[in-house]
Structures are given as structure tokens and as C-alpha cells.
């Protein structure tokens, strides 16, 4: 079961603090709706969002699609969302198999490697 913590902390950006969304456990089609709610909630705060995936053990395509939706939404609205660390482990495997890291889409690949979205 995925546990989601959501708390503000003093970020590197001086004027706004960042919101950290931490995901852990299995993030697959069975419980992806919880992750969706957490992300929608985080994006609703008027602050840059940082996604932490440290304790994620299993992910599937729905999770990759979910973060992709968050990234595109942020780009469209000029918000910032980024991964705390470049994708690794199970998520990295899904991204590689699913063709998410194709260099043709530089913004997308960049995001997964830990870059920010820019307005």
C-alpha cells in the first residue's frame, strides 16, 4: 500500500518553500488513484512540487503516465515540478521499456533525469 506524506519544508528557493510529495511501496494500477489524489493536491498548492521516490518498490505504466500528466500540466501552467533524484530502480526500468527516455523529447527526458519543468 502506498503511503503518501505531504509536508512543506524550507527549500532552496528563498521566496517560496517547496512541497514534497513522497511515494513509497507499490504504485500500480490497483492503487494509482491514491497517488493521483496526492499529486492533484500538491499541484493545487501555490508552490514548486518535489516528488520523492526513495522507497518505491514496484511501479507500472499508470504511474509513469501519472507523472507525465503532472509534468505536462505544470508546463502548461508555468508551475514547477521536479523529481528529487533522477529516476532509478523499478521506475527507471518501466521508463526504459516504455520509451519515455527518448532524447527526441528533451523536456520529458530531462524531467525524468531530475530536471525541473520551466514555465
Amino acid at each position: 500500500m502506498a503511503e503518501v506524506y505531504l509536508y512543506a519544508r524550507g527549500g532552496v528557493v528563498p521566496e517560496v518553500s517547496e512541497h514534497l510529495v513522497s511515494f513509497s511501496g507499490n504504485l500500480t494500477i490497483g492503487n494509482i488513484s491514491d497517488a493521483h489524489l496526492a499529486l492533484v493536491d500538491a499541484m493545487g498548492q501555490d508552490a514548486p512540487v518535489v516528488v520523492s521516490l526513495d522507497d518505491v518498490s514496484e511501479v507500472d505504466l499508470t504511474f509513469a503516465q501519472l507523472l507525465e500528466a503532472a509534468r505536462r500540466t505544470a508546463t502548461a501552467r508555468g508551475q514547477i515540478i521536479r523529481l528529487e533524484k533522477p529516476a532509478e530502480g523499478a521506475l527507471l526500468q518501466v521508463l526504459q521499456r516504455g520509451g519515455f527516455l527518448d532524447p527526441d523529447d528533451a523536456d520529458r527526458a530531462n524531467f525524468w533525469f531530475g530536471g525541473k519543468t520551466h514555465s
Binding site: I32, S33, L61, Q65, E68, T73, R97, G99
Partner: protein, 655 residues
Amino acid sequence: MSGLDPIETFRQEAQELLEQVEQGLLDLAHRPGDRDLIDAVFRGLHTLKGSGAMFGFDALAAFTHHCETAFDRVRKGEVPATPRLVACVLSAQDHMRALAEGRPVEPGAGEALLADLHAAVEGGDAPVGAAEPAAPDARKWKIRFSLPADALVNGARPLPLLDELRDLGDCHVRVVTDDVPMLEDLVPTECHLAWEVLLTTPHGRDAIDDVFIFVIDEMTLEVEELTASRDLDNPMAEAAGSPSAVKAEKSTETAAAQDTRAAKSGETVRVPAERLDEMMDRVGELVIAQSRLKQLASSSLDTALRAVAEEIERLAAEMRDTMMVVRMVPVIQLFGRFRRLIHDLQNDTGKKIDLHIEGETTELDKTVIERLADPLVHLVRNAADHGLETPEQRLAAGKPEAGVIRLSAVQSGAEVLITITDDGRGVDRDRVRAKAEENGLITPGQVLTDNELLNLIFAPGFSTAATITNLSGRGVGMDVVKKTIEGLRGSLDITSNPGQGSVVSLRIPLTLAIIDGLLIRVGASRFVIPLANVEECVELSPAQDLRSTGRSLITLRDELVPFIRLREQFKTGSAPDPHQKIVVVSTGQDRVGLVVDQILGDHQTVIKPLSGFHADIGAFSGATILGDGGVALILDIPTLVHLGQRHDAQMRVAG
């Protein structure tokens, strides 16, 4: 379609020629030096080219010309018929078939095939003609696919598909996320991803299609071949650019083609299948009218009328038999295609497989043959995939390296028995049981006869493949096979010896249009039971009837047989006759008794399909018109047997 359309005539001829050439090529793969085979293949290609040019199939003629030239050189002993050359011409066959049928072909596919062919003829050396392009080892494809939104919820898994594409060759995968909605609007379990794949593979289009074979119905798939820019004077252009080469030969070709056709038309006339169906209908009506006449005549004292009625009865019966034979085609039409399938399967599985075909002259109704094709393909694939072991395993088990799959057909009475035998590892009963328990088909520890256990393989959703391959094992198929066979009013059965292989036998009625039936009465209505399913008829005495209330079982030769009271089943609301009968019917191994009020006798039945409105009433498979003009419904035995067995099982559980 008119039977005289020259284009259609050519297509049918092309079909035959291509089949002939294909068989020749497959034989050549085993006997590379056989002169007669080489000649036969050459002649087939030669005739195809000539007729193609005559009927305006210029692309086909030009393309075939190259294959023919290649085989001409084999014929003259300049180059050997290497397996590679045979494989090239086989692939070229598929292309010719597409051209002959007027299907759209991938641009550049022809050139690629010809380049392969050329390389094969030259044995990989530099081509002689400077204009000929070098052989590309692999072709480049662009594949786009997307799944419906609910695909992931329904169990579709795109990642393994992508992995399979990667297995085919050098593969560049890019996900397309343009359709992913805004985060708030996203339903996270839906799939809004699409993929673009650039694939460079030595395999053909079929290999790509095979990857998507089980999801193809619900997805959008676009496959296009990206052809490398070729020289303008490629073989096709050259052939098209200099039609004189083709034309010069046309006159002799045409003569040859006409000769063969003239020779043929003396022996056979092509008739569109629809006309045969119409005739079959008329014959059916005639049989019905004749039986009414017979009834009238039998109650008349007019001897002349009775004589005529008898005469017409004889003629109608002969007419029916003749008509049946007209629609019959030898099963070689069906079995012939399996040689190619086995050839492809050997490449796909890395197993060595020998195919033995027996009884190919046995005849079956054309419609039956067409509907048997898919189930048989599935059974043969299964035998190759699950039944046969790898060469190493076989040698370790002390068997010859090559596995044998035997297809045989033999007629017995009004049925044809088709068996698919393999000498592989046999069915692993423990795994079947484990799998069935896992899928909830049986309860753990349930006592089953060996036959019941083996037949679980045909239960819906059952699949024992531990690893999913392209060929089988995705849990689709065997239940569909069973359904299709039962739809043909046939039955299917499997026997298997561990370590020695398995035999799947299909019993298929010769024809779908007319059956011998047993006419029975239940209450005031009459029904027909297909005679092929009837095992015996026994009396149900009133005492027995009373005794067995609540437990519908009767003992027949020390075996308990469940029975169904059709009076209750059809709610006739009538009192039972004092002398009820039980008609024992069977499908395969299962037996059920049907309690009827009266047995009226045997009746030749012309089957009329039920209207769409009644089609889903499970217990009836059709209707027929009786001699007195009344209608009788034909009972669908597999459904009733299943019902009886289920009822029996419930009784056992409740008891």
C-alpha cells in the same frame, strides 16, 4: 460475383498455382536436388507469369518473372536450390498472392524481396547486373500503436509487447504522450499513451503482426515499411521500363496458358459456392415436399399416385446424395497449408518437426473445411509448442531428434475423424490439475477421471504455458477450438501418454445441411435428436419414474447416467405418457438420458437455421419441416448434455 468473370477466374487459377508452387518449394527444402520438383516449381511460376500478363496483372507478371528466372538457373544447374533460395521464393509467394488478390502491398516490399532473391541466387556474391541493388539484410518498419482507454484495466500489458518487438531486432521505442489529459482530468487507471517504434528486423511483417496477435482487435495499429531509397533502375522498374521482355514471351505464354486451361475445362467446371448453396436449399425443400407427398400417398388408395411418390422418393434421395458429393472437397485443401505452418514453426521454435499427412483424399463439405481451418491451426501450433520437446530434450529422453506431428483424416459413416498426433512429452496432468485449481475450474482434491482431467484443457481461460510465446499459451484458443467444433456438431477428445505424446481427435459430420434424426414427441410437440448422438433408447417404467423423483439417475449396465425430463425442461404442462422412454445421448465421453413421451422413428432432416431472434436459445440448434408441414425443433445435444452433467454434479454435492 459472376462465375465467368475472367479476373476472378485468373485469381482462382493463381491461387492453385501458388499452392502448387508452395508445396513444391516445401518439398524442395527436404529434397534439394530433385529435378522433378524444380521443374514443377519452374512450370508453376512460368504459367503464373504468362496468365498474369494476359489478364493485365502486370506487376505480378513482372515480379514473378524474376522468381522464374532464378528457378530457370536452378533448372539449368547453374545454381543449387539452397534452403536460402527456397525461403526467399516462399516469402516472394506471399507477395505474389497479395498481388494476385489485388490487396495493397507495402511500397518497396517487392524490391526488397527481389534483392533477397538475387542475393540468394548469387550465393551472396556481388550481383552480376550492375543495376541490381545489393541485398538488404533487414527491413526497416515504422510501427504506431495505441490502446483503448480501458485496456489496462482489462489486463492489456503494453510493456511486454514492446519487449517482444525488441526481440525482433534493433528497436527504437518512443512513447507519445500528447493525448494524456491534464492532471485533474486524468483518470489514472486509463491508458492515454501511444507508441512509435522504429524497428529494423530481418523478419517480415508477419512477425510484427504476431506480436500483436492477441490484442489486435481492440487496438489501433499502423505498420509501414520505410524503404531505403533505391536506385531508380531497380529490378521492378527495369521490368516495367522494358515491357518488351515480357511482351516478347507473351505470345508463347498465352498459348501455353490457354492450353492448360483448355485441358482443365474438359474435366472441371468452376461454380461459385453460393450457387451450390442455393441448390442445396432447393434440394432440401424438395426432400421436405417429397416426404409430404409420401404421407399423402400412403393414405391414398390410388396405386398410380403411390408409384409416382415412390419414384420421386428415390430420385430425391439420389439428388440429395449427388448434391452432397458436389459440395465435398478433399481435406488436402485444408492439410496442405500446414506444411507451410510447420515450416514457419520450426523457425520460430527452433524445434525440428516432421509433418506426416494421412488420408488427404478424404472429403468433407466445403463449408465445414473452411470453418475447421482455424481450430486445426491452433491445435497444430499447440502440439508444436507444448507437445514437442526441444531437440536436446528429445535426445536426452532417447527419442529421435525430430518430433513428429501426424495429421490424419478418415471417414467413418456419416462422420470424418480427424486426428492430430504428436510424439512429444504428453500432457503434464499434475500441472493441468494445479492450473485448473488455480483458475477455480475444479475444487482442490476433486476426484476426476483421467479423461475429465485432460478435457479441462478445453475449458475457457485455461492455459498451462509457463512462458508465454508468440504461438500459444495466452489462455485463448483451446476453449474457442472446442466451441467451433461443437458449432459444427462435431466433438473433440484428447488422450495422452506421458513421455509418448498426445492425440486430439475431432469427429466432424460430413455435412451441415442434412442430418439423420430421431423424431420424438414431448407433450404435444415434436423434436428431432441428431441420430449421430443417440446411443440407445430404454423404457422408463412408471415405477422407476416415481422412484427416481428428485434423483434423476438411471443405472445402465452398472453405470449411473443422469437424465433430464424434457417435459419439465420445456414446461409442456402435460401429463406424462404411461410408457415414457429415455433416449441416451452422448457427446464424447459424457452421457445423458432425455426422457420423452414417445419415439416416432427416424427422420431425414433438412436443417433450417433459427432466426436471429431465437438464435440464443441454447437448447435448440435449428428447426426442420416435417412431412405433414409441421415444424420440429432440433435439440442441441452438447448444451443438454452439459446441463444434465451440471445438474448431476449439483445433485452429488447436495447429496
